[in-house]
């Protein structure tokens, strides 16, 4: 177990190093350069001063080794756009990202798995067909569109929910207030993953219900609900957990669009802003933090699977 962890960690460090090199190379090769230098009103002297201050006058290899030297000591440099340490910017966004991703994950599980089980239990029934159709649509609608539609329906026309932000700015950030702000973006972010988990659960449950031990249990006269929720569910979960693991990167790093539509102060948007503004230190920091998070999460997912399902052994 320990050796396995060490090996995975070593592998993770290599991945991060590779990711940082590639990102840095693409970034410096790109046309335009940092947007802080793109102000046409800057004079030649001012421009040169900024380049010197940011170290952009150095050759790429020097810039990279300098960056790496600082990075291994935990210093990711000051963001060009915000002029504060990149890690501070990330730290300030991380709680909101985790909140949104967590909420979306909960919705995904609480809605996707039970519906999948029920649909499998009554295969071809009304519920099965309705939810299957809904999941088809959920997988086929661009989130920016469904997001803005929901904003218009619930915030502009019905005035039931806020149109954006993580809480009422300048007002009382009560729990209810935060929940109301969280609801729409979490639902939108969860929609596609929810549909996938539903489909996977349904098909895994169908497979399980057809297994010999289930047939036997049924023949022994176990009630259908008990059969479904006590025996099949456990079996289904072990395989569904892989699908859930694959949702994590999307929830953490792929939320940029949902975050933009709902003005949610998360990491995805920070990453997009950094990329669009050519904010080298911030891009590097976001890339590394997101990748590191995913690496750790995937190790955790493996560990969890090993604990749930003793048959899975590490090679």
């Amino acid at each position: 177990m320990l050796a396995f962890l060490l090996r995975r960690l070593g592998h993770g460090v290599l991945v991060l190093l590779l990711a940082s090199t590639v990102t840095f190379a693409i970034m410096l090769a790109a046309p335009g350069g940092p947007s802080v230098l793109a102000d046409p009103k800057l004079s030649t002297i001012e421009r040169a001063e900024i380049e010197t201050r940011l170290g952009l006058d150095q050759p790429p290899v020097v810039q990279y080794t300098r960056w790496l030297g600082h990075a291994v000591r935990g210093d990711f440099g000051a963001s060009f756009l915000y002029q504060t340490p990149s890690l501070d910017s990330i730290a300030s966004r991380l709680p909101q990202t985790l909140l949104l991703a967590g909420a979306a994950l909960v919705i995904t599980l609480v809605v996707g798995i039970p519906l999948g089980m029920l649909a499998a239990a009554r295969r071809g029934g009304t519920l099965d067909r309705l939810v299957a159709a809904a999941s088809g649509v959920a997988l086929a609608v661009p989130v920016f569109w469904s997001g803005l539609m929901l904003v218009f329906v619930f915030a502009v026309w019905l005035r039931l929910l806020p149109a954006g932000g993580a809480m009422t700015e300048g007002g009382d950030a009560t729990l209810a207030d935060r929940l109301r702000h969280l609801l729409l973006p979490a639902v939108v972010l969860a929609s596609a993953g929810c549909a996938e988990v539903f489909r996977y659960t349904r098909s895994a449950a169908l497979t399980t219900l057809a297994l010999p031990f289930m047939q036997v249990a049924r023949a022994r006269g176990l009630s259908a609900p008990r059969l479904l929720w006590r025996h099949a569910l456990r079996h289904v979960l072990t395989s569904v957990i892989t699908v859930i693991g694959l949702q994590l990167p999307r929830l953490v790093g792929g939320a940029a669009i949902t975050e933009t539509v709902f003005s949610w102060p998360g990491m995805g948007r920070l990453g997009v802003e950094a990329a669009l503004g050519r904010d080298y230190p911030l891009v590097m920091a976001v890339t590394l933090v997101v990748s590191a998070g995913v690496v750790v999460a995937s190790i955790l997912a493996d560990v969890v699977q090993m604990m749930i399902d003793p048959r899975v052994r590490v090679a």
């Binding site: 088809g136 997988l139 086929a140 661009p142 569109w145 057809a210 669009i257 995937s298």
Partner: protein
């Protein structure tokens, strides 16, 4: 029975959408890019069958041209990804050993990095164009194919007839080409049906961030994203491309599902 009807409907719809992209622009001659501010935002008329958008461009002409672009992006990105995935999967599955381990670690890594973020990074830095778009989408979506192809090959290569061919001294490449690949074509087809809708959706998401197909060229994605501005004043502008994306993705997913089902009899 009902399922067969569903598949038929899906097939007919898909044929219609493809026909729309292929012959549409040949039949309907209005320009998708020429703007005319004098007639901007007008409803359907004899000259503009579905009316004009905010710049006075013909909406129908843009939908047809956009169909070409979006379906091309979907198909080519899928082809690239599936080719790459098959290649990696085949090499890994046939060679085995440390090459296999390395390639699969690589695939795992790629799977664990948030795809959208990577695509955004690549596109902001390399500049958005159809070429970079295809590359970026393919680079983040080949892993699924690679994994299933490898998995199937691991089983197939132990089959008696393959061992027989090997014993007869048939070259490795020939074995792969003649005896292994034909058996995994259905698997690849299933992967393909997943790739097309996902590429179409990715393009539309990127359009929202200004990184998709660049105007004035039309894609369903950039039409839908551009129409967000007119959601209340000209809702139809968002409706047309939105419905087309929805229907296309839905239909391809239905077909993919049917294909998968025909291969795995249990999970009906």
């Amino acid at each position: 029975m009902r399922r067969r009807i569903g598949v038929t409907i899906a097939l007919v719809t898909l044929t219609f959408v493809i026909a729309m992209a292929v012959v549409g622009p040949e039949l309907y001659h209005a320009s998708p890019v020429t703007m005319d501010l004098a007639t901007a935002g007008t409803g359907p008329s004899a000259t503009h069958v579905l009316g004009t958008d905010e710049s006075g461009r013909d909406v129908l002409a843009r939908l047809l041209a956009g169909a070409r672009v979006s379906l091309t992006v979907g198909l080519l990105a899928m082809l690239l990804a599936v080719t790459l995935g098959t290649l990696v999967g085949t090499v890994a599955g046939v060679t085995g050993g440390w090459v296999d381990a390395l390639l699969m670690r690589f695939a795992d890594t790629a799977l664990s990095v948030p795809a959208l973020f990577v695509v955004i990074l690549v596109l902001t830095f390399l500049g958005p164009s159809v070429g970079t778009l295809l590359l970026a989408i393919a680079a983040t979506s080949w892993m699924g194919t690679a994994r299933v192809v490898r998995g199937e090959l691991l089983v197939l290569r132990e089959q008696p007839y393959v061992e027989a061919a090997r014993a007869l001294g048939v070259p490795q490449a020939m074995i792969v080409w003649r005896h292994l690949l034909p058996h995994i074509v259905p698997t690849i087809l299933v992967a393909a049906t997943v790739g097309v809708p996902s590429a179409i959706l990715t393009e539309s998401a990127l359009s929202f961030l200004g990184l998709g197909v660049q105007p004035p060229a039309a894609s369903w994605g950039n039409m839908l994203s551009g129409a967000q501005t007119y959601l209340t004043s000209q809702p139809l502008l968002a409706l047309y491309p939105g419905v087309l994306i929805l229907v296309t993705v839905l239909v391809v997913n239905v077909l993919g599902e049917a294909l998968r089902r025909s291969r795995a009899p249990v999970s009906r």
